[in-house]
Symmetry: C2
Subunit: 202 residues, 2 copies
DNA sequence: CAATATCTTGACCGGTCAGTCAATACTGTT
DNA sequence: AACAGTATTGACTGACCGGTCAAGATATTG
């Protein structure tokens, strides 16, 4: 295909169906072990259908990643919109990130893999850099306002990301903890970690 | 091969050479994209040599993982041996973990991948559980001694792991920060995160 | 009702890969 | 030197995979 195609309603649906099913299979079985044949067989169409809507296995995976990154960032922006206090914004952003991840295990799985594959690691890094910059900006605000002690904002942002992703993984492995519980622990740990005066209620 | 073979000195060396080179290639190129042919060609031997020393691509990878897990745990135990104070032990363990990771980027890369592959995720999880239990035990000590507020020790341990791994990744991506600097930030963030009274010198 | 664009089929192609194996070389022992 | 266990070779097998394409089905438009 290559150039953007004109899609009928039917075509747009088929394309969305391929994206959704491929996401699931990639997350379930892994990117490399999942063949295009697996995907089209699973949907019950011929192999050519896949190549009518996508250039390659690589590009569909990239599109899935980009979509997921956009989703996550939007969720964060929505959660923090309208809040002024930097510490509050931070807590809300972290909470939104944990909740979104808990609701999208397949996409989180794909992020994890993509990070380990040379073909996609740059894309993942780029998307993550955006999130880190968002977080670091809030942290710098907080430092300026003397709400937290001065420190390398980027490193703190990465630390917060690390806590979030790791504890989200725990939620996937042992269902017992609800996403809210996890989010509470993440927020508390991170606010204390950056040296915020009070764990702002929680 | 299957059953443990009797190896001559030469054989043991060849086996070690395969392990080392395979580790490097898997980390560099990825597990799936690296073929057995790539490995034996890189060493300059025939394909049969590989299957003389290992059952399959899967088993050599598992052996690499197990070895790395053992290495990391040993490093931690060595670092914390002889220290009584739980907070001190925690800090030393974290520091050792960061330093080890920084010195073994290939193995860290393999951990990351293995986690994302159904074939190996159980093994990774098992090894990580051991480390988590070690850390959680120290945390429980600290809670009992009222050095930190009561909290779910396992969750805290995972949070600490998350900070360590994420900031280690930062070190890999931007060389500018030394492992020691990274370790300092990790220790500070985590001690504050768990609510330890004073960031014990640092 | 053509004519045109969108969509679908599935056999096929060139290539790669994990793993096998019979033949051969090496090494130490008696 | 003869023997046996260890080590190495590399062509070969069977399977699979990403991607192509000519042919045909379906929908849209003038």
């Amino acid at each position: 295909m290559s150039e953007p195609r004109r899609l009928t309603t039917r075509g747009a649906q088929r394309r969305a169906q391929l994206l959704e099913y491929a996401t699931h299979r990639f997350a379930q079985t892994g990117y490399h072990p999942t063949s295009i044949t697996d995907i089209v067989d699973g949907i019950g169409v011929g192999k050519g259908v896949f190549y009518w809507y996508f250039d390659s296995k690589e590009t569909i995976f990239e599109e899935i990643l980009r979509g997921a990154q956009k989703q996550l960032r939007t969720a964060q922006q929505l959660a923090t919109a309208g809040t002024k206090d930097p510490i509050e914004r931070l807590a809300q952003g972290v909470r939104a990130s944990v909740i979104w991840s808990a609701s999208n295990p397949d996409l989180v799985t794909l992020f994890d893999f993509a990070q380990t594959d040379e073909r996609f690691s740059n894309l993942v890094r780029a998307g993550r850099t955006v999130l880190i910059n968002d977080t670091a900006a809030v942290l710098r605000e907080a430092i300026k306002a003397r709400r937290i002690p001065p420190n390398d904002a980027d490193l703190l942002a990465y630390a917060i990301l690390g806590v979030s992703t790791q504890l989200t993984m725990v939620h996937f492995q042992k269902q017992e903890k609800s996403p809210q519980t996890i989010a509470d622990v993440v927020v508390q740990f991170c606010l204390q970690g950056i040296g915020a005066r009070q764990p702002t209620s929680v």
